[in-house]
């Protein structure tokens, strides 16, 4: 923790810049106080008693501001700086609607549900398990604070679902579960084999219009709420609020849902880390075949994981993506002493985006850093030297995906060189004064679609 504790003098100087640095200030304060109480809290007995809401609500906020704002945002609206890159998006705590519950549809979750999500994390998402980082007392207090962010928790009481007696897994139960799977038409979204084969619905949005994937039922390590039959039973009973996954509690008996849970557990395939050489080869051959069969999906995966959106989706001063400018470029990067390199518009707009680029022109900029008009890019910040290592199939997949981006008109100026005197001054600082030539990122949009925070340095 040594590097976290803010020195008193630094904290005082921060106060002066508070308007600019509110975010940092809260974080530093959290670190300062966080360090003090953790030792005491670590000895607190692990109990499942309700969080001490009235005792010290500010304490939960301190934990929240230190650990949670990067994704969930300062106000808990699920719009932290990293949020726009994450699939699925972080929870908006102000609505009080949660996916992972053991309570009736429409009900708020129990404290134990929230505590579990914080302790163990949500598998298959960016939400980590905090039980190895935070003390149990801290986890209780941060959950108490999260509950305060939504008025629902003050006015409503959770309605827990009483689980039917568990049906132990057996070949008969699994067989009955397969019938339930067919009757409930789970295959419409999850596919007849649990991994999407023959699914009629393939693109999903949640109630907040964010993209979702249907769970691959053969990969239990990605189930957000846990891989066990008990976890699955609760997902079937409670549904997942805000997503197309409904509750089957009223249409299906408890026994049938246990059978279904046992069936889904039985679908699990061997994970990569347990495979032998032949299974690994078959697994990768299958993935490659699927990628060739569905290049748009593969291209989306590559674009989402390489992080094109990091620079090509401009953000505001709070590092939140400017609405409507997803992949529309305009984020300015100043490379001293060479010039300004704005991120291009990658949408399929014919005038300002890639709509008029040929496939080869897109692949040329990805692998050789040469723009449509023949201008050369620096080897950074656009990392085309690394992208040049991609296989031809993957490059084609990226092009196929970029073609599907809805057009956004945002005319981004071309790269511009610094003037000769500024260049000489920059070189002088570099060569004579020994300065590091910095690369400065200006978030915001310098394109034609509205001025952003990055318009001025």
């Amino acid at each position: 923790m040594r590097s976290f504790v803010a020195l008193p003098g630094r904290r005082a100087s921060l106060l002066a810049n508070r308007a600019i640095l509110a975010f940092v200030f809260i974080g530093a304060l959290a670190m300062a106080f966080g360090g003090q109480s953790t030792s005491g809290a670590a000895q607190a007995p692990t109990s499942h008693s309700p969080p001490p809401l009235a005792s010290n609500p500010a304490r939960g906020k301190v934990v929240y501001d230190q650990r949670c704002v990067e994704c969930h945002g300062v106000a808990g609206k699920g719009d932290g700086p990293a949020a726009h890159l994450l699939i699925p998006r972080p929870r908006d705590f102000t609505l009080g609607r949660y996916k992972i519950r053991t309570t009736e549809t429409g009900s708020i979750p129990t404290d134990e549900d929230l505590l579990r999500s914080v302790r163990k994390g949500l598998y298959g998402t960016a939400m980590p398990g905090w039980d190895t980082i935070l003390s149990d007392a801290d986890i209780h207090e941060v959950v108490a604070y999260i509950k305060m962010l939504s008025p629902r928790f003050a006015s409503e009481t959770p309605k827990p679902i009483a689980a039917a007696p568990q049906v132990e897994s057996s070949p008969e139960s699994v067989r009955r579960g397969a019938d339930v799977y067919a009757t409930l038409q789970c295959g419409k979204c999850h596919g007849s084999d649990g991994r999407g084969s023959g699914a009629t619905a393939t693109t999903f949005e949640d109630d907040w219009r964010q993209p979702l994937h249907a769970a691959d039922l053969t990969e239990p390590w990605t189930f957000h709420g846990g891989p066990g039959a008990q976890d699955l039973y609760m997902r079937f009973s409670a549904g997942m609020s805000g997503t197309p996954m409904p509750s089957f509690k009223d249409s299906t008996s408890g026994g049938a849902m246990w059978d279904l849970a046992n069936y889904v557990v039985s679908l699990a395939r061997k994970p990569l880390w347990q495979m032998n050489a032949q299974e690994v080869a078959e697994h990768y051959a299958r993935l490659d075949a699927e990628a060739r069969a569905n290049p748009v999906k593969r291209g989306q995966y590559l674009v989402d994981t390489i992080g094109c959106a990091l620079c090509h989706s401009p953000v505001d001063d709070h590092k939140r993506m400017i609405p409507g400018l997803k992949m529309a470029g305009g984020f300015r990067i100043q490379v001293v002493p060479f010039g300004d390199y704005p991120a291009g518009n990658l949408t399929s707009d014919k005038e300002t985006g890639l709509g008029n680029w040929t496939d080869d022109e897109i692949k040329r900029v990805l692998t050789r850093g040469i723009l449509k008009d023949g201008a050369r890019l620096l080897p950074y910040p656009m990392d085309w030297p690394s992208y040049s290592t991609m296989k031809a199939d993957d490059l084609n997949a990226i092009v196929a995906y970029l073609r599907t981006l809805p057009p956004v008109s945002n005319k981004v100026p071309p790269p511009s060189r610094t003037s000769l005197p500024l260049f000489l001054w920059g070189k002088f600082k570099l060569l004579i004064l020994g300065d590091d030539p910095p690369m400065v990122f200006y978030p915001g949009n310098i394109g034609s679609a509205g001025a952003g925070a990055g318009a001025q340095p």
Binding site: M1, S3, F4, A6, R10, S13, N17, I20, L21, F23, M31, R67, E70, P81, A82, L85, L86, T125, A126, P128, I133, W221, T222, P271, L272, W273, M275, A277, E279, V280, A281, Y284, D304, T305, I306, L310, F338, R368, G369, R376, P379, D383, P385, S386, Y387, S388, T389, M390, K391, L424, K427, L430, D435, D436, P437, P438, M439, V440, F441, G444
Partner: protein, 208 residues
């Protein structure tokens, strides 16, 4: 007379230096070099052929592809006297980020026990790649370490990356801890410093 000569030589040197820099401005080195000069070395990540176990080798090969296309080396390179030293692949220290949250230097990702990832468990490394959460409890800003993009990796791809990192040649290279200080020069700007300065290279830096 001698003094005048000195002055003339000095002035000629200064003019020559400025003229050379002007030459660099109008014909920058990156325009005279072919794109392959930059992209070629990116494909030279340490190969996985030394790995004995065939399953692990296939997984590490997949991890190597991901590491190369993601451009980890863009930040985690180690600077030699002439640019990045790719023989010390992913040994870190090549980039320093000055941000409103503090100063971060790219870490050593090789399996060295004291200075690299050797002291971290697989789960700890995967947690950084999934959530940006480090073992000491701090979260790296995603603008420095873009974990928010890597969190979209499938768990199996993330596993492949970690398997590959575990088989990199071990390099002893101590990187200073993040200097988390509330220093800011330009609001809204994130400064990323490239440069020839290396940070905390131990004198020998033996490659095992």
């Amino acid at each position: 007379m001698k003094r005048i000569l000195k002055w003339i030589v000095g002035i000629v040197l200064v003019i020559g230096g400025v003229a050379f820099l002007a030459f660099l401005y109008f014909i920058p080195p990156f325009l005279t070099a072919t794109p392959e000069t930059f992209s070629g070395p990116m494909a030279t990540a340490p190969p996985v052929s030394r790995i004995a176990d065939p399953a692990e080798r296939a997984i590490a090969e997949r991890g190597r592809e991901i590491v190369m296309r993601t451009g980890c080396i863009g930040c985690h390179a180690t600077n030699g006297s002439q640019g990045p030293d790719l023989t010390k692949y992913l040994a870190g220290g090549g980039l320093k980020f000055r941000t409103p949250h503090g100063t971060f230097v790219s870490r050593n990702l090789t399996p060295d026990k004291e200075t690299g990832l050797g002291k971290r468990t697989d789960d700890e490394v995967k947690r950084v790649l999934r959530s940006g959460l480090f073992a000491d409890g701090h979260i790296a800003p995603y603008t420095v370490m873009p974990w928010a993009d890597y969190s979209n990796w499938t768990e199996e791809d993330r596993h492949a990356v970690v398997v590959y990192l575990r088989h990199l040649p071990s390099v002893r290279h101590q990187i200073p801890d993040p200097d988390k200080q509330p220093a800011i020069t330009r609001p809204g700007a994130i400064e990323q410093a490239y440069g020839g300065k290396d940070y905390g290279v131990t004198p020998a830096s033996p490659v095992e």
